[in-house]
């Protein structure tokens, strides 16, 4: 393995794979905060050059957190298909980039079982933004819960009806409006303000009742801590189609999230037994660059490679949904719109390459140097990259988590811009309800939550007048 190069008459020597990986990263404030970023733009390119020369075997043999110390490294390394790995291990990262850009979808799918997180992150570091879109577009990952997500030609959305105090009537108001925009074919999924067993169960039931009443083919989920959801299942309190958890890329960082591999194995087992959904994919994970450093669990590695490790962790549980919450963490990790856009494209690409059904929460916070225009740019790029799903929230404003993500309007506009559709049974139902026209676009009545007025409500309102 060669760790040195010269550029413009200067010598650049790196001490190990971890340093090369970190310095080859595109500029991120989080890598600067961690003290691992390249010190100059030329050093960054030198690191990319050295990285391009490494073999996939070099990367496999040098995980950024040692095998003995970390349960996620063990999950990742132990899942490698040795026979497939044997066929590609001599390839350099530079050659691997060219392979991904020129190979067919089938050829890429065939080598996926041989990849570790370090390989996935390494090749992302050599890709330009358009490379990331171009390669990701060839990687479709489908998954089935009640419905099937990720088919070519679809763009799904999560209906995110968050409310400041988890008031059920307020949550359902946002659900009604969201469905009236054709949002929610991925999941109706709430981030609860209060992580309590009873209210989580109540909201799950409410979602399910709405799905039954209006015959909406989708999934329900409340994104509480996994231990809370386990309690709901243990006590049989509510139907649960999808189980959620936020993931981090190392054992130490996972501890800050109150999880580890053993606990997630346990959660998966109980969900498999008690879930209310029908398909083989019933887990939902969220991730995001920077959370490992935030939890002092980055082990001196850069945030991109740590993010890739989350996907190896996620893959163990055959998830239905995985998305990076790309701009949520704040400016100390992704400083501005430029870094947020880059990270969103990287995460989506890496997720798909890992083999998980990747979506993206395209978002920003108010303490970041980013605005609505940056968000819309990334959303359009990811639609072009065949991202599985995005979020949908009333006018882009999350009144509970206090950040901005894609709106109900954005989901509809992106479908129309790209000619994509929601998941087929969902689209069929939207047409029956008159919300979509024959082409699957919004009809004249779309965007009106009162189309979901019930007979009782109608009578009640009339008598109130």
């Amino acid at each position: 393995m060669r760790l040195k190069t010269t550029l413009f008459g200067h010598t650049y020597a790196f001490k190990d794979v971890k340093e090369v990986l970190a310095k080859a990263n595109e500029e991120k404030s989080g890598d600067i905060l961690a003290g691992v970023a390249a010190e100059s733009t030329v050093e960054r390119i030198a690191a990319k050059t050295v990285l391009a020369d490494m073999t996939l075997e070099d990367l496999r043999n040098n995980p950024v957190v040692p095998y003995e110390d970390d349960d996620i490294t063990r999950v990742d390394q132990d899942s490698v298909d040795e026979e497939v790995f044997g066929r590609i291990k001599a390839m350099t990262v530079g050659e691997f980039r060219e392979f991904l850009l020129s190979a067919s979808e089938k050829e890429i799918a065939a080598i996926r079982p041989a990849l570790t997180s370090e390989i996935v992150a390494a090749v992302a570091k050599l890709m330009s933004n358009m490379d990331l879109v171009y390669a990701a577009k060839k990687m479709h990952v489908e998954a089935t819960c009640n419905t099937t997500i990720g088919k070519p030609g679809t763009l799904s959305s999560r209906l995110q009806p968050n409310h400041a105090t988890d008031d059920v009537a307020g949550i359902m108001a946002s659900v009604m409006e969201g469905i009236s925009y054709g949002v929610g074919d991925a999941v109706i999924g709430l981030n609860p303000a209060v992580d309590a067993i009873d209210s989580v169960a109540d909201i799950l039931k409410e979602f399910k009742e709405f799905m039954y009443k209006w015959d909406i083919p989708t999934q329900n989920c409340v994104l509480a801590h996994v231990t809370t959801q386990m309690k709901v299942l243990e006590r049989n309190l509510a139907p649960m189609d999808l189980m959620f958890q936020s993931l981090a890329g190392s054992e130490v960082a996972s501890r800050a999230f109150g999880i580890n591999v053993a606990l997630m194995d346990e959660a998966y087992a109980i969900m498999k037994e008690r879930k209310s959904s029908v398909g083989p994919n019933f887990m939902y994970f969220e991730t995001g660059q920077g959370s490992e450093l935030s939890a002092d669990g980055n082990h001196g590695a850069d945030q991109l490679v740590m993010e890739a490790r989350c996907y190896a962790f996620a893959k163990r549980y055959n998830p239905f949904l995985v998305n990076t919450v790309v701009g949520f963490i704040g400016p100390e990790y992704l400083y501005d719109g430029r870094q947020m856009i880059r990270a969103g494209l990287e995460d989506h690409f890496m997720g798909k390459l890992t083999g998980i059904p990747m979506g993206c929460d395209v978002c920003y916070t108010n303490h970041m140097r980013a605005d609505q225009n940056d968000l819309e740019n990334l959303a359009m790029m990811l639609t072009m990259a065949d991202c599985n799903y995005i979020m949908g929230i009333p006018a882009g404003d999350d009144v509970m988590l206090m950040y901005q993500t894609t709106s109900y309007h954005d989901a509809a506009a992106l479908r129309r811009l790209s000619g994509k559709h929601t998941i087929a049974p969902f689209e069929k139902r939207m047409k029956e309800l008159g919300i979509f026209d024959e082409q699957g676009n919004l009809s004249t009545i779309a965007g009106d939550p009162s189309v979901f007025i019930s007979r009782e409500q109608e009578i009640h309102l009339r008598s109130a007048v």
């Binding site: 009537a169 509970m400 129309r416 939550p449």
Partner: protein, 256 residues
């Protein structure tokens, strides 16, 4: 001649308007809007926002961004007699970029806390500016009164109230460790949402320590006039304090 103004899109009532063309039931849409402060009933121009919705959104984002960069007005914490310390951060820009420095104190500051504040309290209250000083000034007074009433009634030994400038959540671990507190309660300004910088969170931990993971903390968030009102939040914190004192644990270890 009378001056003419373009209507002010920053007014909260602009959000109350129903902009949907010909809704099936205007009455129901109005009711749905009342149940949440999410931006419902905005209608559409094609698949996009109407102009008023877009302009209001941009205005609300603009004020939130400005709120992040405004220094906290310390007259309230002064008036309430808080003991004041500062983290290793020197200014707002550094605060935003260097969370590591916002979690720690210099040796001198730590010594000063040890020298000047009550040791071994049952309850240690900390106020931190976080990402919005507006949030502290909007909620502190109401919430503090309720908390103190509750703690007096329980006969808890309450520590010296401390205000930390340029603070991240983790300063509570350092202070708790320095003073040997049982329950530490930190009130901190959240990252602002649109149109408001007034949302505050409370982090609580039993024997809060830098050696424990973040999951040691029990959290109450969204404290502001349209979320959990500060008086209600104060009562909730008193109740949680009792539980933490009784169970001698906090965070994910505590299933409530």
């Amino acid at each position: 001649m009378k001056e003419e103004f373009v209507p002010d899109v920053s007014l909260p009532e602009v959000k109350d308007k129903v902009l949907i063309d010909n809704p099936k039931s205007l009455e129901l849409v109005k009711r749905l809007k009342k149940a949440t402060n999410a931006r419902l009933g905005v209608g559409r121009a094609g698949d996009r926002f109407k102009t008023e919705t877009l302009l209001k959104f941009r205005a609300d984002h603009a004020i939130a961004q400005d709120a992040v960069w405004t220094e906290i007005d310390e007259s309230l914490v002064d008036e309430m007699g808080f003991y004041k310390v500062q983290t290793m951060v020197n200014n707002k820009e550094e605060y935003v970029r260097r969370p590591d420095l916002g979690r720690i104190f210099s040796e001198e500051s730590t010594e000063a806390i040890k020298r000047d504040c009550i040791h071994q309290p049952d309850v240690q209250i900390i106020v931190a500016d976080g990402l919005s000083g507006f949030a502290i000034n909007a909620n502190l007074k109401d919430m503090y009164a309720i908390m103190m009433d509750g703690f007096r009634e329980k006969k808890y030994k309450v520590g010296t109230p401390i205000f930390v400038r340029y603070s991240r959540v983790a300063t509570m671990d350092r202070i708790s460790e320095a003073l040997g507190a049982k329950v530490t309660i930190q009130l901190i300004g959240e990252r602002p949402g649109l149109a408001t910088g007034e949302s505050m969170s409370v982090y609580m931990a039993y024997e809060s320590s830098p050696k424990k993971p973040e999951s040691q903390r029990t959290v109450v968030s969204n404290i502001y006039s349209n979320g959990i009102p500060p008086i209600e939040a104060g009562a909730q914190v008193v109740h949680l304090t009792e539980i933490l004192m009784r169970e001698k644990k906090s965070g994910v270890e505590l299933k409530i």
